[in-house]
């Protein structure tokens, strides 16, 4: 079988781009897990909120991409804040299963409210870039994908700076490392948890808003992506952010290549099979379980 190198590069680029978006979702989950020790089942619905916010914000700013993106991120972060204050702040440490069920309930509610209000019809989002793309040799990538990937990279850079060089971020890493020790030096866990949730949902909203022009927006779009994100968090080592990013990009590449050479069917199944296999062989994840290691 003659394999066209251009095709390979195209697949690789697509894979990296989608991997970066998966990473955005998964890093948010990893952040929440590291600081609050809960797995947020409502993360997919928050992604969907970000995408729908984009759907409604774009016509309002005459299809300008960046203001709409900012608005979508802020809207999703606000949702995250409300969810934290109302529900998650009541969870105590060690109530892992209860947290799953609360976030699962929230996910059901948000999903069906969206379905009730917006119907299940898929929506296409148009931006100022339309379908214009950039040509690298014979490879074509749409601007929306490029910007999506760039925004993800920028977000990761910002996250790194936040976590490593600001008190905001250091407090989060402290809580993730040892909650008791953090308490002893005067870090307030409730406040840090709130910050972490807002940050994570902002990342998730960014992912949703970036995805909106790339694929169809439906109320159920989060459900499918979120299971992969869970897998990525666990494979990357619960709470280990660089590990999660690496796992996400790896997954994106794997999906892209499998989809490019085999039937689409295998693409989805392969993800779950690999995930189960990795979890059986290395139950603690591929990378060391990080207390939010940043580098």
């Amino acid at each position: 079988m003659v394999v066209d190198p251009v095709y390979l590069v195209q697949l690789a680029l697509n894979g990296i781009i989608i991997g970066l978006l998966y990473a955005l979702i998964a890093v948010g989950l990893a952040l929440i897990f590291g600081v609050l020790d809960i797995i947020n089942f409502a993360h997919g619905e928050l992604l969907m909120v970000g995408a729908f916010a984009m759907v409604f914000a774009l016509p309002a700013v005459r299809l300008w991409y960046w203001p709409a993106l900012a608005a979508a991120v802020v809207a999703t972060a606000l949702c995250g804040l409300v969810i934290y204050e109302l529900f998650l702040s009541r969870l105590r440490i060690g109530e892992f299963e209860r947290s799953i069920l609360i976030t699962l309930a929230l996910s059901i509610i948000i999903l069906h409210v969206a379905q009730y209000l917006f119907t299940a019809n898929p929506r296409i989002v148009d931006t100022q870039y339309g379908f214009d793309g950039v040509m690298i040799g014979t490879i074509r990538i749409t601007w929306t994908r490029v910007i999506g990937a760039a925004a993800a990279l920028a977000a990761f850079g910002l996250l790194y700076v936040l976590l490593k060089h600001t008190q905001f971020g250091r407090a989060m890493r402290a809580i993730a490392q040892s909650r008791d020790a953090a308490l002893m030096v005067g870090i307030r866990p409730k406040r840090v948890a709130r910050n972490a949730v807002v940050l994570a949902t902002a990342l998730c909203g960014l992912a949703g808003a970036a995805l909106a022009p790339i694929q169809l927006v439906t109320p159920g779009m989060g459900q499918y992506l979120i299971f992969k994100a869970f897998a990525l968090v666990v494979i990357g080592g619960l709470g280990n952010i660089p590990g999660t990013i690496a796992a996400a990009v790896g997954l994106g590449l794997m999906e892209s290549f499998i989809g490019g050479f085999f039937e689409i069917v295998w693409q989805e199944a392969a993800v779950f099979i690999v995930m189960i296999a990795v979890l059986f062989l290395r139950p603690d994840g591929l990378f060391k379980r990080g207390a939010m290691r940043v580098g």
Binding site: V234, L279, F280
Partner: protein, 312 residues
């Protein structure tokens, strides 16, 4: 107490004589089947402490195994159910042994991935399962020439199974095995210190839960007379989970009562599918916030509080 249980059983047994409405009997059939599935999940989650999303996968495997045994391999209904149970036990042990060795968090994710994988297989392995077309036209079961071909008659199958399965689960949960499972959930290192290995118990609970859920799934498929990939929709998992949580994880009767009540609830809320699901979500949320141990747990706390107050 036993008198109450016997009376309730008699009432349920007499249902087809009390009403000829197919609608009500249909709800009762669903109630029987879902309650067994919820009670199995209660065994795994409430007694052994393992939050497992794999029940959905076993439900689906059971349904498809029974349907395929009858339609493709020419067996009868009862052989189909037996097949459903056995296949599920094998799969449960195969998946359970590695999964139980992972940590608490990874276990939840692995079981979730397992169920999603089964849903994918049901949809995409078209040569075996006919994919999204599903397997329609499942025939009514028969026993010694007596055909269970009406809803009223099929009720006996569902009710009979419910009595057998719930009886078995009750015996299990009040036995030494059940108490050991509760001990494992409460403090696993202490159980080990007593010289009991937790793994066989956890694996056994997982396998028993899988088998009972699978057979329930088989019966439900024949009740619907059709099986398709929607059988593995996450809705069923949510339903079982809600029944266990609202009833009280770890309480046998709490889950049974919650199972019956929550099966009737959606019928009352028939006016809108989305509003019904929103209400489900709200109920789950409220239950988790106000009564984390379900109604049964809340009742227990009340009686404890009364006892404490009486001591003053």
């Amino acid at each position: 107490m036993t008198l109450l249980v016997l009376a309730a059983m008699l009432l349920f047994a007499a249902l087809p004589y009390l009403t000829t409405s197919n609608y009500i009997v249909g709800i009762a059939i669903s109630a029987c089947i879902f309650t067994v599935a919820a009670a199995s999940l209660n065994l795994v989650y409430g007694f052994a402490g393992l939050l497992s999303f794999a029940q959905l996968g076993f439900w689906g495997i059971g349904g498809y195994a029974a349907a395929l045994t009858v339609m493709t391999f020419g067996g009868n209904f009862w052989q189909g159910l037996l097949c459903a149970g056995l296949v599920n036990v094998v799969v449960a042990v195969a998946i359970g042994y590695p999964a139980l060795r992972t940590g608490r968090h990874a276990f939840v994710i692995v079981t979730l991935a397992f169920s999603l994988l089964i849903a994918l297989v049901a949809r995409d392995w078209v040569s075996l399962t006919r994919g999204p077309l599903g397997i329609p036209g499942l025939p009514a079961p028969g026993l010694f020439g007596f055909e269970f071909n009406t809803t009223l008659r099929f009720y006996w199958v569902a009710f009979g199974y419910a009595v057998l399965a719930l009886g078995f689960l009750y015996a299990l949960s009040t036995s030494r095995i059940g108490r050991t499972l509760v001990a494992i959930k409460q403090n696993e290192p202490l159980v080990r210190a007593q010289g009991i290995s937790p793994m066989p118990y956890k694996l056994a609970a997982f396998a028993v839960g899988a088998a009972l859920t699978g057979i329930a799934g088989g019966i439900f498929a024949f009740h619907l007379k059709l099986i398709d990939p929607l059988f593995l929709d996450f809705y069923f998992m949510q339903t079982f989970l809600i029944m266990v949580i609202v009833g009280g994880a770890g309480s046998f009767w709490g889950v049974v009562i919650a199972g019956v009540v929550m099966s009737a609830l959606p019928e009352v809320l028939r006016f809108s599918a989305d509003l019904r699901m929103i209400l489900y979500g709200v109920v789950l949320l409220a239950a988790m916030l106000a009564m984390p141990n379900g109604v049964a747990g809340w009742l227990q706390e009340q009686s404890l509080a009364r006892a404490r107050a009486a001591l003053r």
